[in-house]
Symmetry: C2
């Protein structure tokens, strides 16, 4: 599983570099991190709410969700992470969690000790800033989700989510915004959007009827299912999607202060 660790770290480094300028010795320090690569079945809870964790989870493949749970067991997924994302990088500075992590699909996850990440951030302040910036992106997405769930109704809400995932998948080189594969059930999407599975279904039908999306499948219940977006701009308009919050095209030199 050494190979899995290396490729996950490379994806993570690429993600950091998209928004932070890092020096060669800083790359090496990041790629030199050690971790344990684990294969997880779909639906497996990786972290239970309330647990204290001593390592962060880097996604190697598949999709991982962060969630909060109500007393009656109902869940709200508060973040979704794709390969190259460090799910709980923030747990380095706040290890006692109120949230949990769940494998939304089959996936591989690399566990990296907080100790190593904290040392990295302390010895290389620029890397520390890059980590901070990375968790800031998560927070920015979170704020956008609050706005979507709070102020849009189901149609635009689902559309916005699809726009976000289209772009994020494209940037992770896992698809194109007009054609991508989301291995999520409608129930899981409901848990993200604050809707019931039935309503996600109806809303999906609605988007299809408006010609905003299409799904290609060999038969009604066949999986995997591919989402196609015939007219990206129309979907964006319907969703009131504006990608600024994904903090792309805004590469910052963390070392500006020392120059």
């Amino acid at each position: 599983m050494k190979e899995g660790v290396r490729s996950a770290l490379l994806a993570f480094l690429r993600r950091l570099q998209r928004r932070s300028v890092l020096a060669a010795d800083e790359w090496l320090a990041i790629l030199g991190l050690e971790g344990e690569c684990v294969r997880e079945p779909p639906r497996r809870d990786l972290v239970t709410p309330g647990q204290t964790v001593r390592h962060s989870a880097l996604v190697g493949s598949g999709l991982v969700g962060r969630f909060d749970q109500m007393r009656d067991g109902r869940r709200q997924i508060t973040a979704i992470h794709l390969p190259g994302d460090m799910c709980d990088l923030h747990s380095v500075v706040a290890p006692t969690t109120g949230w949990g992590l769940v494998a939304l699909t089959a996936c591989t996850v690399v566990h990296i000790p907080h100790e190593a990440l904290r040392r990295l951030a302390t010895e290389h302040p620029n890397v520390g800033l890059a980590f901070w910036r990375d968790t800031t992106l998560d927070a920015s997405i979170l704020a956008k989700w609050v706005a979507n769930i709070g102020r849009k109704d189901a149609g635009p809400r689902l559309a916005h989510f699809l726009c976000e995932m289209g772009l994020r998948l494209e940037r992770a080189e896992l698809g194109r915004r007009e054609r991508f594969q989301l291995q999520l059930t409608q129930e899981q999407m409901g848990d993200m959007l604050g809707l019931t599975p039935v309503h996600v279904n109806r809303t999906t039908q609605l988007l299809k009827a408006h010609g905003l999306i299409a799904t290609t499948r060999t038969s009604p219940a066949a999986r995997p299912q591919v989402t196609e977006v015939p007219d990206w701009d129309r979907l964006v308009d319907f969703a009131e999607f504006s990608p600024a919050y994904l903090l792309d095209g805004d590469v910052e030199s963390p070392g500006a202060a020392s120059g």
Copy 2:
């Protein structure tokens, strides 16, 4: 206004120290920050969505909200900040904003240049970690809001918000959890909770009818209006509130790695 700067920085330092262990030279570095103290009228927009900022806003007094805006002008407030909070500390690492800031009440705000904050974080890596941890708290609150808005209906939602504000005000020494003053209109609360002002009103009546809260006022429309919580535990239970996400009582030594 020098005095305003100093007292705001003190409150900020106290807030950081609640969750991070800092050395004496680090305190001094923080208290030595320079900033401009500004007095703002209620409802004034401090930062417009889309703007690029070169300084962070530290609240000296009053309440400041972070918001996202829809095309039709409707707003969703995604965070609320009390005195001692640095509203947009995260903008140090992500200065191009998708969000805006608004003075929810009359307030004083200290503007501190990113440049100085970034230098501080680079030269004192422990302070960098403390900043990171501070923004992580904001993100943690955000995640909880997603869960509340997504999965609770109006009653518990409002109750949860009141629990959160009660505790946060108490910790900032601006009130007690069973008796505090929230200078917010029902419309502003609606913008936080994803509800219409009318519904906030109805829901407030509901909580009152259940004896979960009471408001004391000298006359019907008199402000300020004080919120009283006759039985904290009952309110907590109704709201399904559990304060872990506020990351209190979890003071971490950022310097653990170097020890």
